[in-house]
């Protein structure tokens, strides 16, 4: 399944020749996602969805995730370790203060006895409270829906952490060494999942999604929610999905399928 998802326009590696080829054959295709379920259409798989260098993110795009909880193995945390590796989040062995951009959450329904496991990260809200409360404008939402922190503007007041209903943000409590050049971080500032913008901007999947696919989980689907032909848009249109604390009206860009809450 992971391989199939890569053909949906959110390719693993940026490859101009491949993109051109895919663009040429773009039309109608079908992919078997699961036994008995056929999804049609990778019509825009060759679109240049990545942001060209020097150009602004497009408001015509809204990047999002669809996470199928039924496909998420409770014992698997490949998405978490991929995020740690990709963004250089190695901790200091102090779980209360070490940052976590993505975590596996176990939920148990005491009424029915059902237990589930799912990854939770920044939900990239359309109406992000972290952006509203940030005094300096360091918390911001990119035009394509990705919520980020400008590490040069963050003063470390942590008000965004108070405001986030998802506990998605971490404060850098200690000195950082061996940072990744594409994921700059800073002691005394706040940080969270960036949806791997450095990858997305070069037409690659976020590290967590790629790791889930590689592990054969296939629980995470990344794509453009505004593109009616994208697989994620088709899936959320066809199958029921939900947002965590959807009642708050924040319209997260991360949706979950088969979540029993």
């Amino acid at each position: 399944m992971s391989g199939k998802m890569k053909h949906t326009g959110i390719a693993a590696e940026f490859n101009p020749a491949r993109r051109k080829f895919l663009g040429a054959i773009a039309g109608v295709a079908s992919v078997t996602l699961a036994p008995g379920v056929i999804l049609y259409g990778i019509t825009r798989s060759g679109d240049a969805r990545a942001r060209k260098p020097g150009t602004a993110a497009s408001p015509d795009v809204r990047w999002g995730l669809l996470i199928d909880v039924n496909h998420c193995d409770s014992g698997c945390d490949k998405c978490v370790s991929a995020c740690v590796e990709e963004n250089g989040l190695q901790g200091h062995g102090r779980p209360a203060t070490d940052p976590q951009w993505i975590r596996k959450v176990k939920i148990h329904d005491p009424d029915t006895g059902l237990s589930q496991s799912l990854p939770v990260m920044c939900q990239h809200c359309a109406e992000p409270p972290c952006v509203d409360v940030c005094p300096t404008g360091a918390s911001f939402k990119r035009a394509d829906g990705i919520v980020l922190v400008d590490r040069h503007r963050c003063i470390g007041c942590r008000y965004c952490m108070m405001a986030c209903p998802y506990k998605a943000r971490s404060f850098v409590h200690e000195e950082i060494e061996d940072q990744k050049t594409y994921a700059p971080r800073g002691k005394g500032t706040v940080e969270a999942c960036t949806l791997c913008i450095h990858r997305v901007d070069s037409d690659r999947l976020p590290a967590c999604v790629e790791a889930c696919n590689d592990a054969g989980g296939g629980a995470m689907l990344f794509g453009d929610l505004k593109d009616p032909n994208s697989e994620i848009a088709r899936r959320v249109a066809r199958y029921a999905s939900q947002q965590i604390r959807g009642d708050l009206g924040l319209d997260p860009g991360v949706r979950y399928r088969n979540l029993s809450t």
């Binding site: 200091h92 102090r94 779980p95 209360a96 203060t97 070490d98 940052p99 976590q100 975590r103 596996k104 959450v105 176990k106 939920i107 148990h108 329904d109 005491p110 009424d111 939770v120 409270p129 952006v131 509203d132 409360v133 940030c134 005094p135 300096t136 404008g137 360091a138 040069h152 503007r153 963050c154 003063i155 470390g156 007041c157 942590r158 008000y159 952490m161 108070m162 405001a163 986030c164 209903p165 998802y166 506990k167 943000r169 971490s170 404060f171 850098v172 409590h173 200690e174 000195e175 800073g186 002691k187 005394g188 500032t189 706040v190 965590i244 604390r245 708050l248 809450t261």
Partner: protein, 400 residues
């Protein structure tokens, strides 16, 4: 109206020097704590990714909320024309500025990047309550300085009412803004819109308690007398403010209890929250509310005078209650887990679904006390440099 004589304090006594040295010491220890935390990183504090605002914020909020409260004494005099309070106007303004500076010092130095405070000045998100508060705090100092000028410059005395009205409006906005820092957070079940007005009531009570203690200490230190009438008035006014705070706390919890979804956090604060439950009932309600209330009104029944000792004791208890209330509100509101999946049992490596722990660290305490020390130093040297203190507060002058 009789002219009130104000004068500087001598400032050469052993008491003055000793107090200045102690406050200076606490201030320097606070700065040293900041250097340590900024160098090592915030992991050396009691804070974590679960409890992001700790003891320094409790101190900062106490000072900021009380700052606008101490100003009430001046406002009662110049806006509400209660002449017995006229000799107390100037000290009220000085205390307001000093406490706000102390609170701001703590807030700024508790930032992850206090060196970037200039960034906060140059980049403003006007949707942020924090950004509004930046204007409310700095504007407050400017307004109170203006107000003080109207009082101290005889030619400007005719503008006291106008300046007092402006200061009154500003201080109400400031405390509403401070409470709204918490009130606007949809994520936290412990907080609600009542925080704004509740903080106004808290400021009245906490501020007057601080004012009374400073006044009693200052008068004792420089051998100036306080009339029994004034003391009785101040004490009974404090009693009324205590009732106001208890009223808001009652409404806050009763309304939150009514919503089934908030029953968990209410149960935590009111029933089985350990230290938070203890601080709520023992600190906030009993020591900070019911006992001083009883002390003031029982002692002053039938026109009986209130002794300085009684009023001071009630004021100290109000301040103990203030710290308890702010601790329960700020930290208790964070240790209770966020309800990501209401009705579910939740667990993760990131402390989802569990009551978080917070133990204040020594550097945080040092920073908090450093802010209090700064406020004390500003008051002490303010009184030495300018004419803030009335020559007498004896009955003859105050009972007009």
């Amino acid at each position: 109206m009789k002219r009130i004589i104000f004068s500087e304090i001598d400032g050469r006594s052993t008491g003055f020097r000793g107090l200045a040295a102690v406050l200076g010491g606490f201030f320097l220890i606070g700065l040293a704590a900041v250097l340590y935390v900024e160098h090592a990183g915030h992991y050396v504090t009691g804070g974590s990714n679960q409890v992001v605002w700790g003891l320094p914020d409790v101190f900062a909020m106490f000072l900021i909320v009380s700052a606008s409260g101490v100003l009430n004494v001046a406002i009662i005099s110049s806006v509400f024309r209660k002449t017995p309070y006229r000799p107390l106007e100037r000290l009220s303004c000085l205390l307001a500025i000093a406490m706000l500076l102390g609170g701001l010092m703590i807030l700024v130095l508790d930032l992850g990047r206090p060196d970037r405070v200039i960034v906060a000045m140059l980049n403003r998100n006007f949707k942020s309550v924090f950004a509004w508060n930046f204007y409310l705090y700095t504007g407050f100092i400017a307004v109170v300085v203006l107000y003080l000028w109207m009082q101290m410059e005889r030619r400007m005395n005719r503008f006291i009412l106008a300046a007092g009205l402006l200061a009154f409006a500003w201080r109400i906005a400031l405390t509403t803004g401070s409470g709204s820092i918490y009130g606007v957070l949809v994520a936290r079940e412990a907080y609600s819109a009542i925080m704004g007005p509740m903080f106004v009531a808290m400021s009245f009570s906490f501020g007057l308690a601080v004012y009374i203690l400073v006044l009693l200490a200052a008068c004792k230190g420089i051998d100036r007398e306080i009339g029994a009438v004034l003391l009785r008035r101040l004490g009974r006014l404090l009693g009324i403010f205590i009732v106001a705070v208890l009223y808001f706390a009652t409404v806050q919890h009763l309304v939150n209890l009514y919503a089934a979804e908030h029953s968990g956090v209410e149960r935590f604060i009111l029933l089985d929250g350990g230290i938070y439950t203890l601080l709520f009932w023992g600190g906030q309600v009993i020591i900070g509310g019911l006992v001083p209330l009883a002390l003031i009104f029982i002692s002053s029944r039938g026109g009986a005078p209130l002794s300085g000792r009684t009023v001071a004791l009630a004021s100290v208890m109000v301040i103990v209650g203030a710290f308890s209330q702010l601790y329960v509100l700020i930290i208790g509101g964070q240790v209770y887990p966020l309800p990501l999946f209401p009705g579910m049992e939740v667990s993760s490596s990131f402390y989802d679904g569990v009551i978080n722990t917070y133990t204040p660290s020594l550097p945080e305490l040092a920073l908090g006390l450093g802010g209090v020390a700064l406020a004390g130093l500003v008051v002490l040297f303010g009184m030495k440099l300018l004419r803030f203190m009335p020559a007498t507060l004896a009955n003859a002058r105050t009972n007009t």
